[in-house]
């Protein structure tokens, strides 16, 4: 599923906003989050701390030197992922094409939804309602006291409507908090021309070189011939030029939710013992979790069905409050209900179905230290096994690692090389 027209929803400093919501009153004093990967550096900084001169990327000691009253907090990436997942789930009600770009930034595909939601202005209005609703929901779940106090809904999000990811993203960066900027089709070039180069998310070296060439805006860049930019910056230059000119439109790639996963077991003789049924449920859930289609997804809705003696049937359903890929968490609500309302007759066949999913670790927990480490360890283990098998079959590893030799070289064959892969 892809879409060219898009709404970009951007919540700057998403982690900081989540913490402010979780810790009422925190915005009354200067505070900052330390980086998830390196606790020696400051990651996101509150407005009061920024006013005192503290910036993201400073060391903790520099931050304390600049602002002695600053409070430094440990980040909670899993919590931020969960909050972001809630926002994505809410946006899914507007469009099936959702592409999260990073924590706090998501693209919503709008192609073909004109009949449903109306003009771009109406589409924006719809997204506004959903985002405000999702934030309010988050606030009421996490912090009921504050919601009861009738505080105004958070308006830290910015929306941008445009053709392709880049235009909608730049539009969102131009919007005021809680509002939107719409770039009508055909106006992309004119809109982009006045935007600063910083919207291109360039590496510092390229940015410095462009500034040294006297370029300030995207219009300055596109005033140069494309070939000249390509000869200076290579492939990245061509992409940069085409993005700036509005000639490159990247579509939003939606992620299809997997089909339900069903696993079943037929008993040799009908079973009525509850403990045995629970054990079987655990085994079936384990099998369903190992299904390749489940990879990258957490289970939201699970059903257990049983065919009973003499043709009767029995069903249980559990909607998990927190989608999970953990066997114990999935089985817990099923077990409780099984004890409350056991099958009336002995069970001949038991089926477990994962019926609905939420995006899982690979898509969302990019910022969770543990999830990332676990994924890396899993990949290494799989690679080690594959290497061993190849070496056994072919008597040579035949597996190589790409290593940069002179990545900056203008001679392509000198940039990278292969070396034997060893674990």
């Amino acid at each position: 599923m892809t879409s060219l027209s898009a709404v970009c929803c951007w919540i700057p400093l998403f982690a900081l906003r989540c913490e402010e919501e979780r810790r009422p009153g925190s915005s009354a004093h200067p505070w900052a989050l330390v980086a998830p990967e390196d606790a020696r550096h400051v990651w996101q900084v509150s407005a009061l701390a920024r006013a005192a001169g503290v910036k993201a990327g400073l060391t903790v000691s520099q931050a304390v030197g600049l602002c002695p009253t600053i409070t430094l907090c440990e980040p909670d990436p899993v919590y931020y992922d969960a909050q972001f997942a809630k926002l994505l789930a809410a946006l899914n009600a507007v469009s099936p094409v959702i592409e999260p770009a990073e924590l706090g930034r998501v693209y919503v595909g709008m192609d073909g939804l004109e009949q449903l939601h109306g003009s771009p202005e109406e589409q924006i209005e719809m997204v506004q309602c959903v985002v405000r609703g999702a934030w309010a929901l988050t606030a009421s779940t996490e912090n009921p006291v504050r919601t009861a106090g009738n505080h105004a809904p958070r308006t830290t999000h910015r929306l941008g409507w445009g053709k392709g990811k880049f235009v909608s993203w730049v539009a969102a960066t131009r919007a005021r908090p809680g509002s939107a900027v719409i770039v009508p089709p055909g106006e992309e070039g004119r809109f982009l021309a006045s935007q600063p180069l910083a919207v291109l998310s360039l590496d510092p070296d390229t940015y410095r070189r462009l500034r040294q060439l006297g370029l300030r805006t995207l219009g300055d860049l596109t005033a140069l011939p494309q070939e000249a930019v390509v000869s200076q910056f290579g492939r990245a230059g061509r992409r940069m030029w085409r993005l700036a000119a509005g000639a490159l439109t990247e579509s939003i790639e939606g992620r299809a939710s997997p089909e339900p996963i069903v696993v079943a077991l037929t008993f040799f003789t009908p079973v009525a013992d509850l403990r045995m049924l629970v054990q079987t449920l655990e085994q079936l859930i384990e099998r369903a979790l190992k299904h390749p289609r489940r990879s990258g997804w957490r289970v939201r809705l699970v059903r257990a069905r049983a065919e009973l003696e003499h043709g009767a049937s029995w069903v249980l359903e559990a909607l998990l409050k927190e989608p999970s890929a953990d066997r114990q968490r999935i089985i817990a609500p099923l077990k409780t209900r099984l004890e409350q309302a056991p099958p009336t007759k002995a069970v001949e066949r038991l089926t477990v179905e994962f019926a609905a999913f939420a995006p899982g670790t690979t898509a969302l927990q990019l910022f969770a230290r543990d999830a990332g480490a676990a994924a890396r360890a899993g990949r290494r283990r799989a690679l080690r096994n594959a290497t061993r098998e190849i070496a056994l079959r072919l008597r040579r590893p035949m597996l190589y690692r790409v290593v940069p030799v002179q990545p900056w070289s203008r001679i392509p064959e000198r940039r990278y090389a292969l070396v034997d892969y060893e674990l």
């Binding site: 070939e227 390509v230 000869s231 492939r235 061509r238 040579r396 190589y400 790409v402 290593v403 030799v405 203008r410 001679i411 392509p412 064959e413 000198r414 940039r415 990278y416 090389a417 292969l418 070396v419 034997d420 060893e422």
Partner: protein, 97 residues
Amino acid sequence: MRSGTDKLRTLNVPQRVQVELENGRPKAVRKLTAADRPTARPPDRRFIESVLECWRIDDEWWRQPISRQCYEVVLETGGRVVLFEDLVTGEWWMQQP
């Protein structure tokens, strides 16, 4: 400690080709065999659909000079490759962009 077989293998090594020109720009390309022997089989000649970019590389003039006129082209089959003329030897080469 690395094994004895461990060595660097170059990536994206240019492949020798023969290029037909039209108005100084590549029109068709043909791969050459190691010895470029004429065979009964017709040469694997591919027309160039369009030239995306051209640029020149001049480097290492202080030792073994490298001088290349490069063209990034789209072949009729849809593939995208870089063709370059070695301006020192006059030979044409092809490699991945």
